[in-house]
């Protein structure tokens, strides 16, 4: 794997940044748990950035670069599943947003209230459920995504897919890339805070106790990013499980430290940190959490569960 962006990748990200510049700025009005970027979602759908992996000469790594960049935004949009998983499904480009749920189809799923399809990943197969004309039971959640839940699959058009292994692998890559972007943005927010916030006559960031733990947080964020990109590059079972497992295992420590150094301000919705840490907390529990990814990695690397 080459750690430098090639010209195409640099061009993709430059183009994406140009599009995002028109949607810069955080949420306005009353602070909320999350900020759904409806206008950004439309612009992304029209731009084709989320279909990058379908284009000849491009692939999951390019999609992961886009997902990581989008996850740094304060607003949330469904990008990871569209960019990394949808190309494996019998869906046309632009047939999105795509909601994901593993196991029971009636579990709450991120983005379901806005999704055109729900992908239900089961042990050995998957169901692609069309949400056309379906009303979704909204789920109240403190986590930073729009959540929804199906009452049942009765009466819905569903297609059974055999490629559960591929879907699960891409889901791991998608969550690793999204989490890496959330970590980068959250860390930037807190670094800025400790640079400027004063206590005992100097910036908080001048205290070693804080520097050391933020250094560890930076190590986590950096490792998460490169593991995610490596997994997207190889599109391999072991890399995907390692990337997802690593970031899921680190999320609790990472988010606690970042909130800690934001002080009481970081406990309010007026400070933007929660826009990323709430997402991280939700991602930490997906696909069975860190221990399940660790087992999958052991299986892929050594053939032992």
């Amino acid at each position: 794997m080459n750690y430098e962006l090639n010209d195409d990748q640099a061009g993709i990200l430059a183009g994406l940044d140009q599009l995002l510049a028109a949607h810069a700025g955080g949420p306005s009005g009353e602070p909320e748990n999350f900020f759904y970027g409806a206008a950004l979602d439309t612009a992304l759908a029209e731009s084709g950035f989320l279909d990058i992996a379908r284009i000849d000469g491009f692939g999951p790594l390019d999609a992961a670069l886009v997902v990581e960049r989008l996850a740094r935004l304060p607003q949330v949009v469904e990008a990871a599943a569209s960019a990394l998983i949808a190309p494996l499904l019998p869906l046309e480009p632009g047939e999105r947003p795509l909601a994901l749920v593993s196991g029971d189809a009636t579990r709450p799923a991120r983005f379901l209230p806005v999704a055109r399809h729900l992908l239900v990943l089961r042990q050995n197969d998957a169901l692609l459920v069309s949400m056309e004309g379906t009303s979704i039971e909204p789920v109240e959640s403190l986590m930073a995504y729009p959540y929804g839940r199906l009452d049942s699959l009765n009466g819905l058009s569903a297609q059974t897919l055999a490629n559960a292994v591929d879907i699960r692998r891409r889901w791991r890559i998608a969550l690793a890339a999204e989490a890496a972007g959330c970590m980068a943005a959250a860390l930037d927010t807190v670094i800025e805070h400790v640079r400027t916030r004063q206590a005992f006559g100097r910036p908080l960031g001048a205290f070693q106790a804080i520097q050391h733990r933020l250094a560890m947080a930076a190590e986590t964020a950096e490792s998460a990013k490169w593991l995610a990109f490596r997994a997207a590059w190889s599109d391999g079972e072991a890399d995907a499980a390692i990337a997802a497992g690593f970031v899921q295992e680190r999320i609790a420590r990472f988010t606690y430290d970042l909130h800690q150094f934001s002080g009481a301000m970081g406990l309010t919705l007026e400070f933007p940190l929660h826009l990323w840490t709430y997402r991280l907390r939700a991602l930490a529990g997906e696909l069975g959490g860190a221990s399940m990814q660790a087992r999958a990695a052991a299986q892929a690397v050594w053939g032992v569960a």
């Binding site: 009353e30 602070p31 748990n33 579990r107 709450p108 789920v139 109240e140 959640s141 403190l142 986590m143 959540y147 839940r149 004063q198 206590a199 005992f200 006559g201 205290f207 106790a209 804080i210 609790a252 606690y256 909130h259 800690q260 002080g263 009481a264 970081g266 406990l267 309010t268 919705l269 007026e270 929660h274 709430y278 907390r281 939700a282 930490a284 529990g285 959490g289 221990s291």
Partner: protein
Amino acid sequence: MSESIDAFRQRARSWLEANVPAEKTPLEGKPLRDYVLAWQQTQARGGWAGLAWPKEHGGCGLSVLELIVWFEEYARAKAPPVLDASFVGLNHAGPTLIACGTEEQKAFHLPQLLEGRAIWCQGFSEPGSGSDLASLRTRGVVDGDHLVVNGQKIWTSFADTADWQELLVRTDPDAKTSGALSWVICPMDTPGITVRPIQTMAGAHKYCEVFYDDVRIPLSNVVGGLNNGWATAMATLGFERGTASLGIIIANALKVDEMLGDCPASRPQMRARLSQLRVEAAAARAMAYRLALDSEEGVPDARGSMVRLAFAELAQRISAAAIDLYGIASPQVAGYHGWGHEYLDAFSETIAGGTAEIQRNIIGERVLGLPRGPR
């Protein structure tokens, strides 16, 4: 003849079983205030108000051992959380008045607190003064027989429904901290006070900002003497005897027990994680008991910071484990009484009342006797 500790436990258990409210604590605002006051009134009627307060001030005058037993039974009965709208009044303001207040102040305020007729809030932290409390800037200027207060406080829990505030203001801008501040009883309905609730990430309007614009408070409301507020604020710590956190520590251990019961045998890693948390809860509890019993006759020492640090970080690990155990979308996690709320609320454990970093400094310098680091 005094009651045996076993008999005391039985009496506490029976009373709690019969009187703990079935309804959960409301989230915020007036419903929360009414609930907290009603529960305090119930405890007062049952003879359980002011457990640690001396009898001559209307309290129960319980021994530390009795307090421990009470909190064990309190947690077992799933009684309302102790760290709620009544906490500042019963564990902070009241004890401060007992230690430093005038006879008039005590006669007026203490019965109101014990009988569940008043809610207090704390006005210490400011936007620029959190961990570094001594740098606070809210000013109090003597004008005749009043103190005129201007400035801003923040992170004041329950200011939106409180009747009184323990307010720390700078009354001598030229003096060192020990002679610069005053601790004053501020009636929250005084003209010039504006309260703005802050939406926390855990969902509730738990904290508030309070703005003071030429707020006139009678000088007779100063507690412990003008410009002596730092000593007044510190005096409270000597009264708490490290027992205020017992209820929380014991409740946490019981929660881990429940989680262990809910963890299926098919999840050995989760069982191991929960078992480890149960061990840590036992350790925090043992340390808290030891400290509380040691402080029966004296002032608690800096080891209180070890207890505070242990249970604060443990509470965060427990709530994180609960989400992993039950799943983020489970009924146990959803809603304002679920673990999701508790998980987010637990972030404040290592910030409120002295950050984990400040506690570590105190342990390093005062317990271990290490040289003082740069501030």
